[in-house]
């Protein structure tokens, strides 16, 4: 089959100066959770001040998620829980919420995403970043801005689009080339990608407890990032065979890029044309 599909589709876009939402654009980059989180906010008719307040709240959400769930910070509630020095009842309330979501994701992924099968104790990292970005985005939505994207180190939560009837277009990085895209998708709300090309073989196969993936990268789209993030983590372990599982999850779609560079995707994966 070779490497036929690795070509970003070309499209003549409407002139952004004409078709974009009127009003200011607010951008922000925040260092948090061991990565950089980029915000793009189309303020629209909302009060600029309200948008800035919402952005500050959104950043606080991310900082808080990092403080509670970091497995790198030795004294985070997550680390204490892993070492048996804190019970779930003693942990902050969002701990139980996230672990509940982890169970849902584990089931939907057929066990390919399993925080309980990680070496060193329970590790919800593959879901937390997406969950935190969902909450950050919620702050912006509540402020009444027209549209926004939150890109948490490569996983994006968004609503609206850069202009009326114009979806956010998200490039999926080619796992083999830093400056190239494998494809472009129109975001249905969440776009998450998992792969080993950035931070080495850190994705654990729950079946073996060892690092292991069956493709170069996996991308999952859907309405919410917590689940897209977790499913992408599972899909990169499962490889192309895992697409059947994604297909079974309503409103979620997946795409797998093999080590050789070929792309396989579910039937309704929202590739931009």
């Amino acid at each position: 089959m070779g490497t036929p599909a690795l070509k970003a589709p070309r499209r003549r876009d409407p002139d952004p100066g004409v078709f974009a939402w009127a009003g200011p654009v607010l951008r922000h980059v925040q260092a948090v959770m061991g990565t950089m989180v980029s915000f793009e906010i189309r303020i629209g008719d909302a009060e600029a001040k309200a948008a800035h307040v919402a952005l500050a709240r959104a950043c606080s959400r991310l900082e808080r998620a990092d403080a509670v769930f970091s497995t790198w910070k030795p004294n985070s509630p997550m680390s204490l829980l892993r070492r048996g020095e804190m019970t779930l009842g003693e942990a902050p309330a969002e701990m139980a919420e996230v672990l509940e979501l982890c169970k849902v994701a584990r089931e939907l992924s057929g066990g390919c995403f399993d925080p309980w099968a990680m070496p060193g104790g329970i590790d919800p990292t593959g879901l937390v970043k997406g969950w935190a970005a969902d909450r950050a985005l919620g702050e912006l939505r509540a402020a009444g801005v027209r549209a926004a994207t939150v890109n948490a180190g490569g996983d994006l939560a968004s609503f609206g689009g850069p202009g009326p009837g114009w979806p956010w277009r998200i490039g999926v990085r080619d796992p083999r080339a830093e400056s190239a895209l494998a494809c472009v998708v129109e975001s249905p709300g969440a776009v998450a990608t998992s792969g080993c090309y950035e931070r080495g073989p850190h994705v654990i196969d729950p079946a073996t407890g060892c690092p292991g993936t069956r493709c170069a990268s996996a991308t999952v789209t859907g309405p919410e990032l917590w689940l897209a993030d977790a499913l992408a983590t599972g899909l990169v372990v499962a490889g192309e065979a895992g697409l059947a599982l994604i297909e079974a999850v309503e409103a979620y779609e997946g795409c797998v890029i093999s080590d050789a560079g070929s792309i396989a995707m579910t039937g309704s994966f929202p590739v931009a044309t």
């Binding site: 070509k7 970003a8 589709p9 003549r12 002139d15 952004p16 100066g17 974009a20 009003g23 200011p24 654009v25 607010l26 951008r27 922000h28 980059v29 925040q30 260092a31 061991g34 990565t35 950089m36 980029s38 793009e40 303020i43 600029a48 001040k49 948008a51 800035h52 307040v53 500050a56 950043c59 606080s60 900082e63 970043k129 994207t149 890109n151 180190g153 490569g154 996983d155 994006l156 968004s158 850069p162 277009r169 998200i170 490039g171 999926v172 080619d174 796992p175 080339a177 830093e178 400056s179 190239a180 895209l181 472009v184 776009v191 990608t193 792969g195 090309y197 950035e198 931070r199 991308t219």
Partner: protein, 167 residues
């Protein structure tokens, strides 16, 4: 590397959205001149920029961030930008727009804080500059990929988008 121009074309179109120029400004040059903060002692961890027709908004109070506000009115030919402060250096881009096309992008300030960053920048910037100019048609608003570390961010496509967007 056939795909690269398309990627950075997106960058260019994103910039177009920020600058808010219109096609009727054909034949004129728009130069986005960097301005704003120049503090060498800043934490360099975060940058916030607002562009557009809003009145000046308030500061964002957040532990690891610096906030810069710029205003450029939609439809006008001059946009002011702020420099982007990264952990590993400052980068300012001067963008020249002719009509609805970006005709030149060049870094005007390139202060890397350590030799390794210099190396990264010298690799990343020529790519950014040449490819931005080459193709203009496909727009992307973000890049999804395996999670990068905050150190690796500076080399990422998302950083390129943020850089140009912030201008």
């Amino acid at each position: 590397m056939r795909r690269t121009p398309i990627v950075l074309a997106g960058t260019a179109a994103g910039l177009a959205a920020v600058l808010g120029f219109h096609t009727e400004s054909l034949g004129t040059n728009v130069v986005a001149t960097p301005s704003g903060s120049s503090s060498g002692a800043s934490t360099g961890k975060s940058t916030t920029t607002t562009t557009g027709s809003s009145s000046s908004p308030g500061r964002v109070s957040s532990s690891a961030s610096t906030t810069t506000t710029t205003t450029g009115t939609t439809g006008t030919r001059t946009a002011l930008g702020a420099d982007v402060q990264y952990r590993y250096g400052d980068l300012e881009l001067q963008v020249t727009v002719t009509g609805s096309r970006i005709t030149n992008v060049e870094p005007v300030v390139d202060t890397a804080y350590d030799p390794r960053s210099s190396q990264i920048n010298s690799y990343a910037e020529p790519l950014l500059v040449s490819e931005t100019i080459e193709a203009q048609s496909a727009a992307i608003n973000g890049v999804s990929g395996a999670t990068f570390t905050s150190q690796a961010y500076v080399q990422s496509l998302q950083a390129a988008l943020d850089k140009l967007g912030i201008k």
